[in-house]
C-alpha cells in the first residue's frame, strides 16, 4: 500500500478520527489546518512526527491529524514530550494543549522545560477559557469576565506566557492568532525548525464559552510586530504590551538542548529503542566489586 504524501498524508484515515468533537466554528479547526500545512511544507512524514497532548478540547488534536500521537493527562504533555524526544531525537516532537493545560495544571512543567530546553515545540491553544469543562476561567481569562464559576467576575491578574518565557530566557517565544493563516504557518514552521524549546501561544476563539474574545475581538486587539525577534530587553518590553497584543516572534535564544546535554548521545546518536544493555560494562562493574 502506498501511503499518501504532502498535506494529505496528515489527514487521518482511521475510523475513530472522523468524529470530530470540536464545536462548529471553533478556532481549533484553523489550528489544525495551520499545523498540517506547516508539517507538510517542512517535508515531514507522519511517522517522523509525534504529537503529545494533554487534556482538553485542544488536546484532542492527535486524533484529527495523522501522525504519531499520545493523548495523555491534563497538564503533563510537556514532560511526556520531553521523554519522547530524549528517547528518540530523530522525531519531530510537538506538545499541544490549551491554556488551562499548559499554564494552570502544567505550569510547573512549563517553567522547568524552559530551563531544560528540550528540542520540542509547545503549541498552546489559548482561548482564554476552559472549553472541555464548559467555560470556567483559565489563567489567561481577562479580568472582569464573568463565568459560571466566577459569577462575580475574574479578579486574578492574567498569566502572560510570552513575558514569562522571555523572563526565563526561553529559547524561542512567539504569539499568533489562528485567524491569520499564512503568518501562523510560517511561525509554526520556524518554531519546529528551531533547535530548542519553542513556545507558541496561539490565540483562538472558543465560540461556545468565550463571548468576549471572538474572531473580531482578536483582529481588533492584536497587531503584527513588523520586525523581531528582538534582544531580550526589547522583547520583554513588547511582551508586556496588552492592548493591542503584539503578534510575531518575540525572542530567539540559541542554547544547548536537553538531548545534546545528556551523556546518552555524546558519542552515539542511535535512538534509545534500538539499543540494548551493555552487559560487558555490567560484568566490569561486578569485577570492580570483587576487589
Amino acid at each position: 500500500m502506498n501511503l499518501p504524501t504532502g498535506r494529505e498524508a496528515f489527514e487521518p484515515r482511521r475510523p475513530g478520527s472522523e468524529d470530530v468533537a470540536w464545536c462548529p466554528g471553533c478556532g481549533n479547526f484553523g489550528i489544525r489546518n495551520i499545523l498540517i500545512s506547516a508539517l507538510a511544507e517542512l517535508g515531514l512524514r507522519p511517522s517522523q512526527v509525534a504529537i503529545i497532548s494533554g487534556i482538553g478540547q485542544a488536546a484532542k488534536m492527535p486524533h484529527y491529524i495523522n501522525a504519531n500521537g499520545y493523548h495523555t493527562l491534563h497538564g503533563r504533555a510537556i514532560p511526556i514530550a520531553t521523554g519522547v524526544k530524549a528517547a528518540n531525537p530523530e522525531l519531530t516532537v510537538i506538545a499541544e494543549g490549551g491554556d488551562g493545560d499548559m499554564y494552570a495544571e502544567g505550569g510547573n512543567h512549563l517553567l522547568h522545560a524552559i530551563r531544560r530546553n528540550p528540542d520540542i515545540t509547545v503549541l498552546i491553544h489559548d482561548n482564554q477559557i476552559y472549553g472541555l469543562t464548559k467555560g470556567q476561567a483559565s489563567p489567561t481569562t481577562m479580568v472582569g469576565m464573568k463565568t459560571p464559576t466566577q459569577p462575580w467576575g475574574v479578579f486574578e491578574e492574567p498569566f502572560n506566557p510570552v513575558a514569562l518565557a522571555i523572563a526565563m530566557n526561553a529559547s524561542f517565544v512567539a504569539r499568533t492568532f489562528m485567524g491569520y493563516f499564512r503568518e501562523s504557518v510560517e511561525i509554526i514552521k520556524k518554531a519546529i525548525q528551531h533547535r530548542g524549546l519553542a513556545i507558541v501561544d496561539i490565540l483562538h476563539p472558543c465560540v461556545s464559552f468565550n463571548k468576549v474574545n471572538t474572531y473580531a475581538w482578536y483582529r481588533e486587539h492584536t497587531y503584527w510586530m513588523d520586525d523581531g525577534p528582538f534582544d531580550r530587553e526589547a522583547a520583554f518590553r513588547r511582551a508586556i504590551e496588552t492592548d493591542p497584543l503584539p503578534l510575531g516572534i518575540f525572542y530567539v535564544n540559541e542554547r544547548p538542548t536537553f538531548e545534546e546535554s545528556v551523556p546518552a548521545y555524546r558519542k552515539d546518536k542511535t535512538p534509545l529503542w534500538k539499543r540494548g544493555p551493555k552487559l560487558d560494562l555490567v560484568e566490569e562493574f561486578f569485577e570492580s566489586k570483587r576487589l
Binding site: G83, V84, K289
Partner: protein, 570 residues
Amino acid sequence: MAEFKEDVSIVLGGAAGQGIQTVEGILTYALKRSGYHVYANKEYMSRVRGGINATEIMVSSRRVRAFVRRIDILVPFKQGVLSWVADRIGKNTVVLGERENVEEGFIEKVNLVEVPLTKLALETGSQLYLNTTAAGLIVGLFHGDFDAVEEYIRKRFGSKGENVVMKNIEAARKGYDLGVKLCEEKTIAVEVQKDEKVKDEVLLTGTEAVGIGALAGGMNFLSFYPMSPSTGVSTFAAQHAEEFEIVVEQVEDEISAINMALGAWFAGARAMVSTSGGGFALMSEAISLAGMAENPMVVHLAQRPGPATGLPTRTMQGDLNLVLYAGHGDFPRIILAPGSLEEAFYLTVEAFNLADKYQVPVIILTDQYFVDTYYNLPAPDVEKVKFERYIVEAKPGYRRYELTEDGISPRAVPGYGEEVVVANGNEHDEWGDITEDAELTRRMQEKRAIKKLETIKKNAPLPRLVGSENAEYLVVSWGSTLHAVEEALEQLGRDDVALLHFSWVYPLNPETKRLFEGKTVIAIENNITGQFADLLRKELGVEVQHKVLKYDGRPFSVEEVFDALKGVIE
C-alpha cells in the same frame, strides 16, 4: 578475657558527619578481602550533622545476611551511643573505646576495654583520623589483610592527594597494631574461620543491586526527584550515565519524573523512576495513564515509614497497599519485592522484560533496610541476563490497541515503520482514537483488566518454599524480611515449620493456593496491619492465623523473628 566465635556482631556509633560510613567501607572491604563473610547495615537519623548514626557489621565464618540484635563489640564515637543501643547490650558485649564516650550510668555496667583512639589519631596529626584508626583496630582484631585496608584508602581518598592517603594509612596502621596487641595480650579473643572463596566474591549494597540490575535490564532513561531512601539508585545511575550512555535527569517533581519516563517508554526507551512512598503518591495519576494507555513502566519504590513524611531514614514494608491500589480504574500491574541482593539484580532485569512484554507498570518494592544492606555474594551471572524486546514495526493497518485473546496488543514505537502509533489515556478504539461506544468500552476494559491480568497470573512464578511441603506450620514472608526469617528458622531447626517466601508479590499465580492447604499460616511483616496477609485473603482466600508484625521503623532482627515464632509454635 572476652571471647567471640563464629560470628561477631560489631556496632559502631557516632554522630552524622563523624565518618561512620568510612569505617563501614574500610571494614566490609578489608574483612571480605581477608576471607571473612561480612554483612553490614546502617541506622541513621534524618539529619546531616549530629544525632546518632550506627552501623552494624557482622563478621562470620559462614554466610550471614541478616540483622541481629545482639552486639558483641560496640565502638562509641560519642556519648549517647550506649543509651541509643541500650536494649542491644548484653552481658557479653564489649565496649571498645574511650571512657569519655561512655555515659556515666554505663561505666559500671559494661565491659569497657579502653583504647586511646583519639590519642592515636592526634599522633597521626588530627582528630579527623579517628574513624580510620578505629577501622584499623577492628581489622587488627581479626588479623585481617592490611594491604586491603591500604587499597581501600587509596581508592577512597586517592583524589584528595597523596598526603591524605598516607596519613589515613598511618592512622589505620596504628589502630591495626593496637588490635593485634589486644589479642596477643588476650584482652579479646576472636575466632572466626576464613573462607578462601569469599575473597573472590562481590560486595554489594541493595542500592547497587537494583541499580546495576536496571542497567543490565537495558535501562537507558531514568528521571527522578530526590527522596530518601530511594535517591541512592538515582545517584548510582547518574554516576554510571557516562559509561553506559544513558539519560539521567533530576526533574522538577515526581509528576514530571514519571511522565517523562512514560514518554521515553512510548518512544521505545527502557525507562525507570526511583522514588519513595510520598513521591509515588504523586505519581499515581500517571500510573493510571500507564494502565489505560498500556504504556510500559518500571518504578523502583524504596519504602520508608509513612504516612506523609513519616520517618525519612527508617524502614517499613508499609507501601504495598499504595502500589497495589494506586491509580484510578481497573488495570493490571506487577509488584516485585526482592528478598536477597541476587534477587534484586535478576528481578530488576526481569522488571524491564515484564514491562516491555505486558505493557503494564512494574513496581520493584524495596525499603530503607534493604537498600542500605551490604553483604558478600558470588557475582551474579551476567550470562543469565536475557534482554527481551517486544517491539513490532508499525506497518500499514497497524492498530496500537488490537483486541487479542491474551490481552496483549502488539506495541510499535514511533518512527519504526511507515505507519503511525496513536496511544491514548482516554478510552479508545483499536487504533487509539477516543471512543464512547459501550460495547467497545466493555471489550477494552476486559482486555486490560481481565484477559491481560489472567495472562500475567498464569505466567507468574510460584513463591519459594524452604522446608518440607508437609510441614504443619507455614511461615510467610515477602521482600526484605527473607534473610531474618530464614536465619531464625535455621536456628529453630524444626521439620514441622516451613517458609514460603514471596518475591513476586502481585498478581499471584492461582496455583499458589495449593501450598497453603491444611497449614497453620504465620505471616511476618514489617508493617502494622499485615498488608500482605490481607492480600493473600483477598486474592487466594488464604486465612493467616498468626501475624508477626513490627512497625517501629526498625527492621526485624533474627532474634525477634526467632522469639516470635517460638511464641506462636510452642
